[in-house]
Each structure stands twice: as structure tokens, then as C-alpha cells.
């Protein structure tokens, strides 16, 4: 799949660190795919594999049971729901733990996105939102 404009999913994205890094991120490693780097446009998807899905359990959140399988190397376009800032990412890890935050919503301009369905590296997240916001609402295309 290329970074294109076919709608895939919508929800919240958070951010995480991976690969060689400073501080507590130094223990993160290269992620489920082995090549995740904080400084690259990478992301973690909760259904990157069956094993991944068994950890993240998006199906335990209303409306997320059908989230599609997209494995290592899948490419997605992530668009911030209000600013429409966009970034193309490659899936290199499994996450986030969607089921732990069922029902959580991020809203802007009266639009809300519910449930954590994507984790972005700092490079990718900072292209569409401020890192200190921690999470933001997005639409995802492929």
C-alpha cells in the first residue's frame, strides 16, 4: 500500500520513542519490526500481527473490533483532524494498548476522535502536533 487517500480508520494517536535514544527511551529497542527509530516517520499499529492484537485488544473498545491488519512495512498517511497537517509513516511496531483507554476522546473544533489506535514516533507526531500535547485526533489513509 502506498501513502494515498483511501480512508482506513480514525481515532487518537499518541507518541512513543524507539531505537537508539537518550534517557529512558534507551531501553525501547527497535520495536516489533526491529527497525523503529524515533527520528524517522514511523508508527505502531494495534493490529500489526495476531500476537500484537492479543496485547492491544482494540476489540474491547466499542467500534474498534474491525480494525484491519497492517503489518510491518505498511504505509499510512496520518492527517490531524483539525489542522489537516499530514505525515506519511511506515508501521514498524505494535501498539498502543488500545483497550486500556477505551472511550478516551480528543476533540478540536467540535470534532472528537475516540480510542487510541495509533502511536507515532516523535518525528512523525511533531509533524502534525506538539509533542507536549501527548495525543491528538487523526484520520488515517493508505
Amino acid at each position: 500500500m502506498a501513502c494515498s487517500n483511501t480512508y482506513l480508520w480514525a481515532g487518537e494517536t499518541t507518541w512513543f520513542c524507539c531505537g537508539a535514544a537518550w534517557g529512558p527511551c534507551a531501553s525501547a529497542g527497535g520495536g516489533a519490526c526491529g527497525n523503529c527509530r524515533s527520528g524517522s516517520y514511523h508508527g505502531a499499529w494495534p493490529n500489526a500481527s495476531a500476537a500484537c492484537y492479543s496485547i492491544t485488544r482494540p476489540d474491547l473498545c466499542s467500534g474498534e473490533g474491525g480494525i484491519p491488519r497492517r503489518g510491518c512495512g505498511s504505509v499510512m498517511k496520518v492527517v490531524q483532524q483539525c489542522s489537516r497537517a499530514a505525515v506519511c509513516i511506515t508501521i514498524t511496531d505494535c501498539g498502543p494498548r488500545t483497550h486500556s483507554f477505551c472511550g478516551e476522546a480528543t476533540c478540536c473544533s467540535g470534532q472528537c476522535r475516540t480510542n487510541r489506535i495509533l502511536d507515532l514516533t516523535p518525528a512523525a507526531f511533531s509533524a502534525i502536533a506538539s509533542l507536549n500535547s501527548g495525543k491528538t485526533g487523526v484520520q488515517i489513509y493508505e
Binding site: 534517557g23 527520528g39 489537516r84 497537517a85 472511550g103 507536549n132
Partner: protein
């Protein structure tokens, strides 16, 4: 290059040369990072990223505005702080709060001289998956990967969100064994995390 890219590059170039005085957030970057990003209305071109991103540790600060940064993969960068740059270190700070040894992420525009004119710099920022292992008056003990971290609670800056709820200063509902995401600032001196936000899951 889009018109927004051009405007942003021109704006930061001007700021880097000291020709701009910024009061509050602007559409192209500002003192408050949230306001700056909220004001961005044009999408970045995903095929040709117009922003430069820097990750690494500060090795030196030159002329009070140029951060020399050693990346985790051996790369070297120079990050220019302008009067349009937002700097975050647990909260919005001045460059005076940045020290050699700090980690950072920076976003900005590449200048002809090879420096990066930053519109946002996040110093020591982390956003970690943890399990709450202990709760004290001013600190949390947190399991992270195979190790332990200390989270320092600051009355003025630490808030919590429970199961997706709104942020609150009330941390009393945090329980042992809970899974959480913590956003904060790592302290290179002792490895602890100054907590900005504790998001506790179900």
C-alpha cells in the same frame, strides 16, 4: 514547495537573523507550542517533508542561541533558537533552562548555513508506558520495560487523566498496578521523570 513552506522558511530565517519580534503565538510558530500547532492550517506535503527533525543530546550551547546536538545514531546538528522558537522542558521555558547533557527533539527549517532554525524544541520530553509500582506523597515508583523509574510530582505542573477523563490535579485515584502513560521531562542528573501528565487506563 508550498506557499506555507516558503512563508515558514522566510519567517524563521528572519527570526534567526534577529529581525523579528514575536509576542505570543503566531501562525508559523510561537511561544506556546500548543497554540503554534493549533494555528497550523496547511498540511505538510507527506511526500516531501518540509520540516527538519532533530533528535539527540545537547553537547554545547554557543552564543546563547545555538544548540549543538549529537544524535543517537552519530549524526551532528546545530539547532538555532530564535525569538519565534517555543522551548518546552516540563513547561514553556527560555533557552537558559537548556543544559549540556539534556536530550531533545526539535522541529524546524533547514537554513542555508546548515543549521536548523527551530520552531519548537522539546527538552528531555518522554511519553512512556509504565506500570504504577508505588505511590508516595511527591513521587510515583513506575515499572518501565524491565527497569524502574521515579516520577516526581510537581503541584504546579502535574495532572492526571483517569480512563479517558478530563485532566485533573487530583492524583489520589492512581492505584498500584495500574497501567499508565506518563508524559514528562527526564532528569539527566538522576534519571527521574518530572511528571506533566499521568494518563491512567482501565
Amino acid at each position: 514547495m508550498t506557499s506555507t513552506d516558503f512563508d515558514r522558511r522566510r519567517f524563521l530565517s528572519t527570526a534567526a537573523l534577529g529581525g523579528a519580534t514575536i509576542v505570543g503565538a503566531t501562525a508559523l510558530g510561537g511561544v506556546d507550542p500548543d497554540a503554534a500547532f493549533a494555528a497550523q492550517h496547511q498540511p505538510l506535503d507527506p511526500a516531501v517533508p518540509s520540516s527538519s527533525f532533530v533528535e539527540g543530546r545537547v553537547t554545547a550551547i554557543e552564543d546563547g542561541s545555538l544548540l549543538k546536538v549529537a544524535g543517537s545514531y552519530g549524526e551532528r546538528n546545530s539547532v538555532r533558537i530564535t525569538n519565534a522558537t517555543s522551548v518546552w522542558k516540563l513547561y514553556t521555558v527560555d533557552i537558559d533552562a537548556v543544559e549540556p547533557g539534556d536530550g531533545l527533539y526539535a522541529r524546524g527549517v533547514a537554513m542555508p548555513d546548515g543549521t536548523i532554525a527551530a520552531d519548537a524544541v522539546w527538552v528531555n520530553i518522554v511519553n512512556l508506558e509504565v506500570v504504577i509500582r508505588g505511590i508516595g506523597k511527591n513521587r510515583l515508583a513506575m515499572g518501565h520495560h524491565a527497569g524502574e523509574l521515579v516520577g516526581r510530582i510537581h503541584d504546579d505542573h502535574t495532572s492526571a487523566s483517569y480512563a479517558g477523563g478530563a485532566l485533573t490535579k487530583d492524583l489520589s485515584r492512581i492505584r498500584m498496578g495500574q497501567y499508565a502513560r506518563v508524559l514528562g521531562a527526564w532528569r539527566p542528573s538522576d534519571g527521574a521523570i518530572d511528571l506533566a501528565r499521568v494518563s491512567v487506563g482501565h
